[in-house]
Amino acid sequence: MHTIFGIPAPLLFGQLLLGLINGGFYALLSLGLAVIFGMLNIINFAHGALFMTGAFAAWGLLNYLGLPYWYALILSPLLIGLFGLVLERLFIRRLYGLDHLYGLLLTFGLALIIEGLFRNAFGSSGMPYQIPRSLSGAVNLGFMFLPLYRGWVVVVALVVSLATWAVIEKTRLGATLRAATENAALVQAFGINVPRLVALTYAGGVALAAFAGVLAAPIYSVNPNMGSNLIITVFAVVVIGGMGSILGSIVSGFGLGVIEGLTKVFYPQASDTVIFVVMAIVLLARPAGLFGKTA
């Protein structure tokens, strides 16, 4: 059998592909964080909890209303986005003028409360959620067995990431949004309702987290801790990509997924630290991150 660095080639290709799939989740989550940080200057520590809430919403829609996966994919981000809108109105908007630390503390507290409530209501061992029938099964690629659902995840993650990037960087709406963060007073003077725009941006970022949650529900166990496991990694991804950089978070999300996947072949015990090693190296060389602009 053909080998690369002593690892059979098929195994290596398999791991690359799996890394890309996990990278899809990292990209989707860090994208939401980057949008919120880039536009609102809020470090949204509640992102992991909202990701979890999205997965639970999918489970709830199926169990209480009988609505399958495909409906959940649309409805759950809408519901959780609406919840995000409420959070923004009630809490987060009060912090825009303040130091980052306040936003971080508030959202961290919110995350603890949300996770605690879910733990109390549903326990910690998780809820079953099956892969939709039309996406169950797998194809044999020759070098590995690719479950159709994983293939679907990577494609959807890529499409949604690129669409978000395009909306913010290439459309008039995105231009207005970016202008509003640069100089809110001036944009307001042009007759644009800036507070509403900002609130909708937060809701949008939250909806992205919920969307990732629905995608994750059939793969991972739907449990209250699923977000807190991911959030620290995702923050590292955002820092590596450059805080607030949309493209940076997409590229580093997929890239780090691949690096992590390869580590799992060569030295699995280090797979949860490798991202932080990369982060340290990147910060030493480029303190603003790979795609960040130095202030």
Binding site: L11, R119, P128, I219, G261, K264, V265
Partner: protein, 412 residues
């Protein structure tokens, strides 16, 4: 001002420890009052396996014993050790030094369990471990103050591992969690596999906690050509492994040996995914009239989950402890934990969950091990009707022979 990752994480770590060590109202140190501390995971991956349901079971044991009618005043304290050995040991010290706790029970997560065992030995207080797996508790690290209840890694390896090899599963690939429990379970199972003529083709040790995606390891297992996937982990990790093994079609090639699995895990996976799995527990609510009666008594107090062997062990352990204390007298019991444990070892246990069992001199409770198969959805008649009993191993054969444990308490 700048915020750094370090300040965030440092703050989190401090906050977490601070919560666990938050001052309690100081108790009036009345000499007659017994205090039982339930120390377990109340917020993390093992919360449903132990957690508040263990506390409920301890309280049920106090009620069933009729403590107040017998003139015993018993108070139950509980705390979350967050699966961290340092946090667990600190709480145990505080309980003994300040709060006058006489006995600590439960303590899942082997690394924490061993740390707390040392504190209890040092302070001469009773330690009834139920939730942790490591067989070291009654092996080289056994103590005159330790009793280990419902299961251990040797028993799981012997029962689930042994049964799997016997039915043709002879090429194994292991996925162990990277801490003492995972290593123990893998080592002991490997031993049974090779002794029975099977082979271990490889393993992928993963970082614990924090790993949620196991696909890399599953693909490695697939490439190895194994016909058994040995999962040396627990809780949500086991669930994720099983779910993803189905996804990657591994179940067409290999059988899954979930070496430690609780009824709560089966419930979380759903019978559709879990059907056909073979697992070992020493308690099942639907085993006989007594286990059903016990479950009926506590069901309303544990709304989300039925009891598993750990929670049943907390019940049985507390009951047996109270019997020993009332035989010795509270004053003597409070003076020496080792004396209470010696008394507990001298009397056979008797309770609704495990029946009558012996406690060996190394502290091992010889409960019978039941090998179960998870039912098909069509076979399940109601909620939580999940297991079919395959094999019963009597208590004196279910655990590691006394001589092989190298417990210093055992005189050869």
């Amino acid at each position: 001002m700048g915020i750094t990752r370090r300040s965030i994480l440092g703050g989190l770590a401090l906050g977490g420890t601070g919560l666990a060590l938050a001052p309690r109202p100081s108790w009036a140190q009345s000499s007659k009052k017994l205090r039982i501390g339930v120390l377990n995971d109340q917020s993390g991956p093992y919360r449903d396996v132990s957690g508040l349901n263990s506390v409920v079971c301890v309280k049920q044991a106090i009620a069933d014993f009729g403590a107040s009618a017998k003139g015993l005043e018993v108070e139950v304290l509980s705390a979350d050790h967050q699966n961290k050995p340092d946090v667990g040991a600190a709480i145990a010290r505080q309980w003994f030094d300040r709060d006058g706790v006489d006995m600590i029970i439960d303590v899942p997560t082997s690394s924490v369990a061993l740390a707390v065992a040392n504190v209890c030995r040092e302070k001469n207080r009773v330690y009834i471990n139920v939730g942790a797996g490591t067989a070291e508790l009654t092996g080289s690290q056994c103590a005159p103050t330790t009793i280990h209840w419902a299961y251990d890694t040797w028993m799981l390896a012997h029962s689930t591992g042994g049964a799997t090899v016997k039915t043709g599963g002879n090429k194994w690939f292991f996925i162990p969690a990277d801490y003492v429990f995972g290593h123990d379970l893998e080592r002991q199972t490997s031993q049974f596999v090779t002794e029975a003529g099977g082979k271990v083709l490889g393993h992928a040790t993963y970082a614990f906690p924090g790993t949620t995606d196991f696909s890399s390891f599953l693909v490695q297992a697939q490439a190895s050509g194994a016909n058994v996937l040995g999962l040396a982990n627990a809780g949500a990790d086991t669930q994720n492994c099983i779910k993803q093994a189905h996804e990657f079609g591994l179940t067409q090639q290999a059988r899954i040996a979930a070496l430690l699995m609780f009824i709560t895990d089966v419930h979380a996976l759903g019978l559709e995914t879990a059907q056909g799995l073979v697992l070992t527990e020493s308690f099942y609510w639907d085993l006989n009239d007594k286990t059903r009666a016990f479950t009926a008594r506590i069901k309303d107090k544990t709304p989300n989950n039925y009891p598993n062997m750990v929670q049943a062990g907390c019940y049985a352990g507390t009951l047996h402890y109270l019997k020993a204390v009332s035989a010795l007298g509270v004053d003597r019991a409070k003076a020496s934990g080792a004396e209470v444990v010696a008394r507990m070892k001298a009397t056979p246990t008797e309770d609704d969950c495990f029946g009558t069992c012996k406690i060996r001199e190394d502290g091992r409770v010889l409960v019978p091990a039941y090998l179960f198969e998870v039912k098909k959805p069509s076979e399940s008649k109601g909620p939580w009707d999940y297991y079919k009993l395959l094999v019963t191993t009597p208590g004196d054969q279910a655990f590691r022979p006394l001589a092989e444990g190298h417990c210093p308490l055992v005189k050869s």
